[in-house]
C-alpha cells in the first residue's frame, strides 16, 4: 500500500516534470523561431539595404560636439564664452611632405613662427591621424583664399570651430580655470570615469578652477550624424542624426568687479586674497597674484609663453589662494583667544604684566614680544588689539597643544574647507602625534608656545584663513565655501541653485565672541595695529593683522642680490570682517614679502570692503607699498618658505 502510493507519487512527479519540460522546450522553440524571423528580416527582407551599406558605401558616425556652457559672475558678467572661428587643420598621416605643405600654405595665409611652434608641440603630443590646427582665427579673406586652393592640399582642412574665449583676460583665472587640449592623462581619466564616448569630437577639457570642477555640467552631451561615406571618405547622405545638447551655464558667486578691484590693489605684488559672504559661504573674490591669461591655453600654448609663465620667479601658474601655504602669524591669535576664553581662561578682568618676554618654568629661554620693552598691563581685549605676543605665549602653554589644536580644527585649521574646486591643500595644524609620525621626535613645550602666535609648524592657505574668519564672523556656524551659486540648464533655462551646507556649528558663548570682536574692532581704531585700514571707513571693521617671517632661500637657487633682499621680507597677512555688528563679508589677504600686515595687506581688504558694502570704487592712485627693510629675526624652528612647498604645475 505504502509502496504503491510512493510509486504513484513518483510517477506523478515524473509526469509533472515532463509537462514542465515540454513547456520549457516550447518556449525555447518559440525563441529560436523569433531568431529565425530576425535573420529572415535582416538577410532577405532588408538584404539590399544592408548589402549597399556594406559594399558600395560605408557607414560613418560623425560626432557633433556640444557648446560648452558659459561661466558668468554673480551679476551676469560673462567670464567665459564661445565663438566660431575658422581654423586650418592638418592630419599628418595624410600628408607626405609636411614641411613643403606648410611652406605652400604660408604663401596663402600667414603662418607665424608662434603658430609653427605650437603646431610642432601638438604634433609631438598627438597621434598622426589626429587633426591638428596649424593656424587659428583665420579671417574671411584668408578662409576664402584657402577654400579656392583646397584641391592643392590633401590632408589640410578648413574647419569652423567653436572656440573658448575669456573676455576678461587675466581676471580671476585661478578661480575660473581654463580649458586646454585633452592629453593622455585626461584621456585615461575620462575612460576611467566612463564618459569617454561623450568626448568623441571634443578636443578640450577643463583645467583648474570652475572649468575643471564643473566639467560634467559645462561639457554637454555630444550629438552625432550617421552618414554614408564614399570611397574617398566624403559624406554622401545623412542617415540619421541627433542634435547635441549644450552644456549648462554656471553662475559664480564671484563678483567680477570686486575681483578686479582686489587684483588691481595688489599691483605688482605677489599674494592671495579670498573674500567670503559669511552667512552663505559664497566666495565673492578669489585672487591669486600674479595671474595669467587663460586664452593662451585654448589653442595649445606655445613654448615661449609657457616658459615665461613656468619659469617666472613669481610662479603665476600656482593657485596661491588654494595651494599656497603660509604661517598664519598673528592672524591666528583671535582663534587662540577664543580657545582660551571657552576653556575658562583669561576671562576679564584677568590681565598680565608684560615686560617684553615670556619664559617657561624651569627654563631661561626668552620668548620675545615684538615690542622689546613690553606692553605693560594687558588684558584679553588689549592683547588682540596690540597683538601682544607675551600674552598668547602663556595662554598657549596653559591650554596645551592638544586642546588648542582640537578647538581650532573646527575653524578649519589643518582641514580642507571643501570648496567646490579641485586641488585644495589642507595646511597644517601640528600636534604631538603628527610630529611623532613626521619626524619621530617628541613634542616640546616651546613649540606649543610659538604656535600661540601662529608660528612654528602651523601653516594655512589663504582659503582656510578666509574660511576661519567667515566662521568667526558667523558666530561659529561654519558654512562650506563655494564658488558656484547656480547651474542654469542651457535648454530649459531652469536655474538650480547650489544649496548652502552647514559644516559645523561650534558651541561658543556670546560673551566670549564679544570680547574677541571688541579686540578685533579696536585693531582698526586708533591704538590698534591697523589704524590706517579703519580710518574714515563709515562702518566698523573687525580685523587682525599678521606678519609671517620668511627665512632661507633654497640652497640651489641663484637669485640676484636685489631679489634675495626682497624675498627675505616678511609676508604681510590681514583678516577682517565687516560690518562688525552684522558681517556681510569676511576677508583674508596675504601679500608675499609685503612687510607689515596692517599697511601692506590691510588696504587691499579695505578697498574690497568699501566696494562691497558701500559700492565705492577706489580712486586711481599709485600703489603705495611700504619699502622699508625687514627687521625679521631668524625663526628658531626653520619653517620653510612657501616657494619650496608649493606644488609645481605640470607642463601641459
Amino acid at each position: 500500500m505504502a509502496y504503491s502510493a510512493e510509486l504513484k507519487n513518483h510517477q506523478n512527479e515524473q509526469h509533472n516534470f515532463r509537462v514542465r519540460l515540454l513547456i520549457a522546450g516550447a518556449l525555447a522553440l518559440l525563441a529560436f523561431c523569433a531568431l529565425g524571423l530576425r535573420f529572415y528580416y535582416l538577410q532577405i527582407n532588408r538584404y539590399d539595404y544592408y548589402h549597399t551599406l556594406a559594399e558600395s558605401n560605408r557607414i560613418s558616425i560623425v560626432p557633433i560636439s556640444p557648446n560648452r556652457g558659459l561661466i558668468l559672475d554673480r551679476n551676469g558678467v560673462v567670464l567665459a564664452h564661445n565663438f566660431f572661428v575658422y581654423t586650418l587643420e592638418m592630419t599628418p598621416s595624410k600628408i607626405t611632405d609636411l614641411d613643403t605643405t606648410i611652406g605652400d600654405l604660408a604663401q596663402l595665409v600667414e603662418i607665424s613662427p608662434v603658430d609653427l611652434k605650437r603646431f610642432k608641440k601638438l604634433k609631438a603630443q598627438s597621434h598622426s591621424f589626429e587633426s591638428i590646427p596649424i593656424r587659428t582665427h583665420l579671417n574671411e579673406i584668408e578662409a576664402a583664399k584657402f577654400a579656392v586652393n583646397r584641391y592643392r592640399f590633401p590632408g589640410v582642412e578648413l574647419k569652423s570651430r567653436l572656440y573658448r574665449h575669456y573676455p576678461q583676460g587675466k581676471l580671476g583665472t585661478h578661480a575660473i580655470g581654463y580649458i586646454s587640449r585633452i592629453n593622455e592623462r585626461d584621456l585615461k581619466q575620462l575612460k576611467d570615469s566612463n564618459v569617454i564616448s561623450n568626448y568623441k569630437g571634443t578636443d578640450h577639457v577643463g583645467k583648474g578652477g570652475v572649468e575643471q570642477a564643473y566639467e560634467s555640467e559645462l561639457h554637454g552631451i555630444t550629438g552625432f550624424q550617421q552618414v554614408e561615406i564614399d570611397a574617398d571618405g566624403k559624406a554622401v547622405r545623412v542617415l540619421s542624426s541627433a542634435a547635441p545638447t549644450s552644456g549648462n551655464n554656471i553662475v559664480l558667486s564671484i563678483d567680477a568687479k570686486l575681483q578686479a578691484i582686489a587684483e588691481k590693489a595688489f599691483g605688482e605684488r605677489r599674494g592671495a586674497m579670498v573674500a567670503i559672504q559669511p552667512n552663505t559661504g559664497e566666495v565673492l573674490g578669489f585672487v591669486s597674484m600674479p595671474t595669467f591669461d587663460p586664452n593662451l591655453f585654448v589653442d595649445g600654448i606655445d613654448y615661449e609663453n609657457w616658459n615665461l609663465l613656468n619659469n617666472s620667479l613669481d610662479k603665476p601658474l600656482i593657485n596661491r589662494a588654494l595651494k599656497g601655504i603660509y604661517p598664519p602669524g598673528s592672524t591666528f591669535k583671535p582663534f587662540v583667544a577664543l580657545a582660551g576664553l571657552e576653556a575658562g581662561k583669561r576671562e576679564p578682568p584677568f590681565s598680565i604684566q608684560d615686560s617684553g618676554y615670556f619664559t617657561l618654568p624651569n627654563s631661561r629661554h626668552r620668548y620675545r614680544d615684538w615690542k622689546p620693552s613690553g606692553h605693560g598691563s594687558v588684558d584679553m581685549r588689549k592683547a588682540i588689539t596690540i597683538s601682544c605676543d607675551t600674552f598668547f605665549y602663556g595662554l598657549a602653554m596653559e591650554l596645551g597643544i592638544e586642546r588648542l589644536a582640537e578647538f581650532v580644527k573646527h575653524f578649519g585649521f589643518g582641514q580642507k574647507t571643501g570648496i567646490d574646486i579641485h586641488g585644495e591643500v589642507s595646511g597644517l595644524m601640528p600636534t604631538p602625534e603628527w610630529k611623532k609620525k613626521r619626524f619621530k621626535q617628541p613634542w616640546y613645550m616651546g613649540e606649543t608656545v610659538i604656535v600661540g602666535i601662529g608660528q612654528g609648524y602651523t601653516l594655512v592657505t589663504p582659503m582656510q584663513l578666509a574660511y576661519a574668519t567667515a566662521t568667526l564672523a558667523n558666530q561659529g556656524t561654519a558654512i562650506r565655501p563655494h564658488m558656484v551659486n547656480a547651474v542654469v540648464n542651457a535648454t530649459t533655462h531652469v536655474m538650480t541653485p547650489i544649496p548652502h551646507t552647514v559644516l559645523d556649528k561650534i558651541e561658543l558663548k556670546p560673551q566670549n565672541l564679544d570680547i574677541v570682536k571688541a579686540g578685533m574692532v579696536d585693531v582698526t581704531l586708533p591704538g590698534g595695529t591697523a589704524v590706517v585700514v579703519g580710518a574714515n571707513a563709515g562702518y566698523n571693521i573687525a580685523a587682525k593683522t599678521g606678519t609671517a617671517q620668511v627665512i632661507g632661500i633654497k640652497q640651489n637657487e641663484k637669485y640676484n642680490e636685489h631679489s634675495i633682499n626682497e624675498r627675505h621680507r616678511d609676508h604681510a597677512l590681514f583678516i577682517a570682517y565687516a560690518p562688525a555688528e552684522a558681517p556681510k563679508i569676511a576677508i583674508a589677504v596675504i601679500v608675499e614679502n609685503g612687510g607689515h600686515g596692517g599697511s601692506a595687506a590691510g588696504p587691499i581688504a579695505r578697498k574690497v570692503m568699501d566696494y562691497f558694502l558701500l559700492g565705492k570704487e577706489p580712486i586711481e592712485e599709485a600703489p603705495a607699498v611700504a619699502k622699508q627693510p625687514s627687521t625679521a629675526t631668524t625663526r628658531p624652528d626653520g619653517a620653510t618658505m612657501p616657494e619650496t612647498l608649493l606644488e609645481e604645475e605640470q607642463y601641459d
Binding site: L21, G25, F32, Y50, I61
Partner: protein, 365 residues
C-alpha cells in the same frame, strides 16, 4: 583488446551530444580563423581551450551522479564565500569588482556559480522530494538570491542574469506553482513604472541605451549597427568563408568573442544561420531527452536546467548580435573564443553525459 579499451573509454560518453559538440567546435574554429584575420595563434589557443574542455567533460562524465550530488553543498558554500571575498578584497578593473587574486592567478568566482547554483538547488529539491511546500520554494528562492545579489553588486548584470536563469529553471522544473510565476510577472510589471520614476535621468538613459543601443552610436550602439550590417549583408548564402567584408575590413569590434556570430552570419548567410540554430536545437533537445529519461529528481532537474541554460546562452548572444536584445556580455557557446566559457561548457556536458550513462546504476525512488 584495443576495441575493448575504446569501448570502456567511451562507455560514459553520449555519442549524439559528442557528435554535435565536435561539429560545433569545428565550425567555431573555422569562424575564428576568419574572424581573427587568419591568424593561427588564436586558433591554436582555442584548440587548447577545447581540448581542456573535452578532457574535463570526459572526467565528469565518468563520475556518478551521486558523487556530484555530494559536492553540491560544499561547492555552493565555497562559491558564496569566494563571492564574499571578492566583495571585500577583490581587484577592481573597469569600475567593477569581479576578480579575486589568489596569489598564483586571478579567478572570477561568479563563473563557478553558474553550475554550483543549479546543482545546489537540484540537491535541495531532491532532499525534499515529493512533499514540496510553499516554504521549500521560498528557501530555494533564498539559495538563489544570495549569490545573485552578490554578483549584481559587483556589478556584473550579465552573469547575474545567467546565474539567476540557471537557478530559476531548476525551480520552475521542480514545479513552482503557476500562481507564483504569473503573480511574479504581474508584480514586476506593476512595480517597474514606480522603479523607473525613482531613477536619475542618467540612469534612465543608461537603461534606454541598453534596450535600444542605436541611441548611443558612439558607444555600445556602434557594435550593434556594425553587426546588423554584417549579418544583413550576408544574404541567403553568405559571402563565403574568409570573404566577409565587414569582418575583414575591421569594421566589427569584438569579433572573435561576443560578436563572432556576426562574422558567421556574414560569411555563411541565412542558410548557415538556420543550420547553426538547428545544431544548437539538437543539443538542447538531447539535453531535454536526457532530463526526461533521468531516474531521480536530482538528475532530471539538473539536466533540464543545463539544457535550458545552454539555450539561454545561444538565444541571448544571437539576439544581442542581431539587435533584438540588449547588449550584455554573453559569449556564443562552443563558437566564441575564450577559455572560461569553454570550460564551463565542458563541465555542463560532462554532467549531462554522467546523468545519461549512469542510469542503470542508480536505484529508483
Amino acid at each position: 583488446m584495443i576495441s575493448k579499451f575504446i569501448t570502456s573509454f567511451f562507455k560514459h560518453i553520449d555519442s549524439v551530444l559528442l557528435a554535435c559538440i565536435l561539429f560545433a567546435m569545428l565550425v567555431g574554429l573555422l569562424v575564428l580563423y576568419s574572424a581573427s584575420g587568419q591568424q593561427f595563434s588564436r586558433v591554436s589557443a582555442q584548440l587548447i581551450n577545447m581540448s581542456v574542455a573535452l578532457a574535463v567533460m570526459w572526467a565528469v562524465a565518468n563520475l556518478q551522479p551521486q558523487h556530484i550530488e555530494r559536492i553540491a553543498v560544499p561547492a555552493y558554500v565555497i562559491g558564496v564565500l569566494l563571492l564574499l571575498a571578492v566583495a571585500l578584497f577583490g581587484d577592481i578593473s573597469h569600475g567593477a569588482r569581479r576578480w579575486l587574486n589568489i596569489g598564483i592567478t586571478k579567478i572570477q568566482p561568479s563563473e563557478l556559480l553558474k553550475l554550483a547554483v543549479p546543482i545546489m538547488l537540484a540537491w535541495y529539491f531532491s532532499k525534499r522530494e515529493s512533499n514540496l511546500t510553499v516554504a521549500d520554494f521560498l528557501i530555494a528562492g533564498a539559495i538563489l538570491a544570495l549569490p545573485v545579489l552578490f554578483i549584481v553588486k559587483q556589478p556584473d548584470l550579465g552573469t547575474a542574469m545567467l546565474v539567476a536563469a540557471s537557478g530559476f529553471y531548476v525551480i520552475f522544473l521542480a514545479g513552482l506553482s503557476w500562481r507564483f510565476i504569473l503573480g511574479g510577472i504581474a508584480l514586476i510589471g506593476a512595480l517597474s513604472p514606480v522603479f523607473w520614476s525613482l531613477l536619475h535621468d542618467y540612469q534612465r538613459r543608461r537603461i534606454e541605451i541598453l534596450i535600444d543601443p542605436t541611441q548611443d552610436p558612439l558607444g555600445s550602439g556602434y557594435h550593434i549597427i556594425q553587426s546588423t550590417i554584417a549579418i544583413g549583408s550576408g544574404g541567403v548564402t553568405g559571402k563565403g568563408w574568409l570573404n566577409g567584408t565587414q569582418t575583414q575590413l575591421d569594421f566589427l569590434p569584438e569579433r572573435t568573442t561576443d560578436f563572432i556570430f556576426a562574422v558567421f552570419g556574414e560569411e555563411f548567410g541565412m542558410i548557415g544561420n538556420v543550420m547553426l540554430l538547428a545544431l544548437f536545437a539538437i543539443i538542447i533537445a538531447r539535453g531535454f531527452y536526457i532530463a526526461s529519461q533521468a531516474k531521480n529528481t536530482f538528475s532530471r532537474l539538473l539536466a533540464g536546467s543545463i539544457a535550458m541554460t545552454f539555450f539561454t546562452y545561444c538565444f541571448v548572444n544571437m539576439g544581442m548580435v542581431s539587435g533584438i536584445l540588449p547588449v550584455v556580455g554573453v559569449p556564443l557557446p562552443l563558437i566564441s573564443y575564450g577559455g572560461t566559457s569553454m570550460l564551463t561548457l565542458g563541465l555542463s556536458f560532462g554532467l549531462l553525459m554522467s546523468i545519461q550513462t549512469h542510469k542503470k546504476l542508480v536505484a529508483t525512488g
